[in-house]
């Protein structure tokens, strides 16, 4: 793997030093600060909504009015960060003519793409962990809540899932940057995919669900459950929804199901928090799909890139 280290460190330095990183980081940090501020405000006005077990985790899933929860924030804007890091990874070098120069050095082709990918993941990880630590630190300072070991473990899992999720979008950006020669094209297509999975999927799911199982004025509970099931099935095509379900279950120990039909089934269950292992198992399919997505994305990029003809122009 000669050359991997060289590419990795060079790319990492590029990413972390780039303006887009600093701007993105500032945006994310500001948003995190806003979330903390809003939570602080709403808690001081009404403490009752903010009590019980796993207080520390609640701060991550808490949404107050117009300000979305941290999970929602990551699920929506994480993809943008990933795309921004990935969309011009290959084709900018190619159009800049640096690609053939790099490859004329004793650096293998696989080292180039692996290094870029790993450096991107590392950058995302650094960014995420700093945001999580900032939020946790602010929480501890403002509310005086100390996380328990289980809460820390859950936050750790949340961190991993987030890396996989944002990494997937970065991988998608890299794939498009390999497939399309123009950076503008890859950027546009990446954004399109993101918009589709973030917004259009909701409409599509609703339309299809209502077509297959139309809800009249006097729809039975069963029919509503079926409608909900179909909607959920379609929604789960979107990595965004998968990530939301995954992290919600991990950060909220009392969640054990999604949708009405399972809610009906669980009416006999005694409410109470699940163990961390059970929480992970509840959303294990979502978790596996996310990991599979990033791996497949990377594999396709790899294959395409390795087979491509690289000419010095």
């Amino acid at each position: 793997m000669s050359g991997l280290g060289v590419v990795y460190w060079k790319e990492l330095a590029d990413y972390l030093g780039s303006r887009k990183f600093i701007i993105l980081f500032l945006i994310v940090a500001l948003t995190a600060g806003t979330i903390i501020y809003v939570i602080n405000q709403s808690v001081s006005s009404d403490v009752s909504q903010f009590s019980g077990d796993f207080l520390f985790l609640k701060l991550f899933t808490f949404s107050a009015g117009t300000i979305p929860s941290f999970i929602f924030f990551v699920s929506f804007f994480g993809p943008l960060i990933g795309i921004i890091f990935g969309f011009d990874a290959i084709n900018s070098e190619r159009s800049g003519g640096t690609m053939s120069m790099v490859l004329s050095q004793p650096i293998y082709r696989d080292a180039l793409i692996n290094g870029k990918f790993l450096a991107g993941i590392t950058t995302i990880a650094v960014m995420l962990i700093s945001i999580i630590v900032i939020i946790s630190g602010l929480e501890m300072a403002v509310f005086g809540i100390i996380p328990t070991m289980q809460e820390l473990a859950r936050i750790g899992i949340f961190f991993l899932v987030s890396i996989v999720y944002i990494g997937f979008w970065m991988g998608l950006g890299i794939l498009f940057s390999i497939l399309f020669r123009q950076t503008a094209t890859s950027a546009l297509i990446s954004i399109m995919v993101w918009i589709f999975f973030s917004f259009f999927i909701l409409m599509v799911a609703n339309v299809i669900a209502d077509q297959v199982a139309p809800l009249g004025n006097n729809a039975t509970l069963e029919l509503m459950g079926r409608n909900e099931n179909i909607r959920n099935m379609i929604l789960r095509v979107s990595p965004l929804i998968l990530f939301q379900e995954c992290t919600t279950a991990i950060l909220n120990p009392s969640i054990r199901f999604f949708g009405i039909s399972t809610a009906l089934k669980s009416m006999e269950v005694i409410p109470g928090p699940l163990s961390i292992g059970q929480s992970v198992l509840v959303v294990w399919p979502q978790f596996v799909i996310l990991i599979a997505l990033i791996l497949v994305c990377f594999a396709v990029s790899y294959v395409v890139f390795m087979r491509q003809e690289i000419r010095s122009t």
Partner: protein, 420 residues
């Protein structure tokens, strides 16, 4: 001749009428004579009686003033010298009367007569049998001019063979409810009336003959928290006591004979009682550790063991199990029926019941309540198991396998395409 006869007949008729008139007038005269004189009568319906040993009789003795003047009559009772140990009294007629020595009678009704009561009580033992004892009531006017007397002859016979029973009859035990039913371990109460028929006050000791292991206590009626073993009863008095008998818990269902004994010196009297023990039925269900928490995995079948036993004294019959579980769950029992469950005191070990719980697939993980009911004819018991359903890890492994497969493909691609 004819005339002569006719005349004779006529004469005869006249004579007859005269005689009749005379006799009537003389009768009327004699009555008038008697009334005018001083006279009184003493009279009894019976004057010859037979009494058993110890038996007593009350006779009505009537005194009537037949004269024209009020009379003051002294009465005296003279008993035959052989009848020393007889109790004889002349009293006025009201209940528990007083002894009478003199009676005053007026000439006119209704105060011209008075009834007295002659009480004769035979002694408890008659030494020699006598044909008759004579008791004479002598009535005499105060001035001694008129004396009347009435003899009452009493023959006494002895009672042979019944002598003993009479002796025990000096204490009489009586109860209204001689048979009491109770479940084992529960007290049963007998109210017993104790009568002292002797002539003396008696201190009576009480005892009870019981089957082994039974407990008994005696308390005064209305004061059940006190326990006594003896009581003093005045002569001819009656006391009601309470006998509380408790059979032990292990008593089998049956009828038992008890005996209540009252002793006063030499005297002893026993009262047979009956106790019907119905037996108790207490079903109990538990697990080995006492932990009522089950762990299972959704979509899987799992066996749990619990114990069933009967803490009562009698067998519980027709035991069946049924369960209340969330929808779609299958709960089976092995055995699912039992003909009878004897007392644990007999079996010395509880029955093992295997409960098989099958949780449907895609059950939401969490805690559920599974209620198990064991119902017998006589008792039932319900326990709740908190059942924690976990997500099966096999799908987790499937996920891991998928990831490993993708990684393997990636590795294969790496190996094939690298170093170009």
């Amino acid at each position: 001749m004819y005339q002569k006869i006719k005349g004779f007949l006529f004469f005869n008729t006249i004579l007859f009428i005269i005689i009749a008139l005379l006799s009537f007038s003389s009768l009327a005269q004699s009555e008038q004579n008697e009334k005018s004189e001083r006279d009184f009568l003493i009279y009894s319906q019976f004057s010859n009686l037979v009494l058993e040993e110890g038996q007593s009789v009350d006779l009505d003795i009537k005194l009537i003033n037949q004269g024209k003047q009020p009379e003051e009559i002294l009465v005296d009772l003279i008993a035959a010298p052989e009848a020393e140990d007889w109790e004889v009294l002349l009293r006025n007629e009201s209940w528990k009367g007083f002894e009478v020595r003199q009676i005053n009678l007026l000439p006119d009704e209704p105060d011209n007569s008075r009834t007295l009561n002659l009480h004769i009580e035979a002694p408890k033992e008659i030494g020699e049998e006598q044909k008759g004892y004579t008791f004479t009531i002598k009535a005499e006017t105060k001035d001694g001019k008129l004396i009347r007397s009435l003899d009452i002859t009493v023959a006494a016979i002895s009672k042979i063979g019944e002598e003993k029973e009479e002796e025990t009859d000096e204490i009489i035990l009586n109860t209204k409810y001689p048979a009491v039913e109770t479940p084992s371990g529960k007290a049963m109460k007998y109210e017993i009336e104790v009568k002292n028929q002797t002539d003396e006050d008696q201190v009576m000791d009480f005892a009870a003959e019981l089957p082994q292991g039974w407990r008994a206590s005696i308390s005064p009626r209305y004061r059940e928290d006190e326990t006594i073993s003896a009581i003093k009863i005045n002569k001819s008095g009656t006391e009601t006591i309470l006998l509380v008998v408790t059979p032990p818990f292990t008593t089998e269902k049956d009828e038992y004979e008890l005996k209540f004994i009252a002793r006063a010196g030499e005297l002893e009297k026993s009262l047979p009682l009956k106790a019907i023990v119905t037996g108790t039925y207490t079903m109990n269900v538990g697990t080995e550790t006492g932990n009522l928490k089950l762990n299972t995995i959704s979509g899987e079948e799992k066996d749990f063991l619990f114990y069933l036993w009967n803490e009562g004294s009698a067998s519980i019959d027709n035991i069946a199990f049924f369960s209340t579980a969330p929808q779609g769950w299958e709960v089976k029992f092995n055995p699912d029926k039992m003909a009878e469950l004897p007392s644990i005191a007999q079996t010395q070990q509880p029955e093992k019941i295997t409960m098989t719980v099958k949780v449907p697939q895609n059950t939401v993980p969490g805690d559920y309540i599974v209620t198990v009911n064991a119902t017998g004819t006589q008792d039932q018991k319900k326990i709740e198991f908190r059942t924690t359903v976990q997500v099966p890890t096999k799908w987790g492994w499937v996920g891991v396998l998928i990831i490993i497969a993708i990684l393997a493909i990636l590795l294969a691609i790496f190996l094939k395409l690298r170093r170009r």
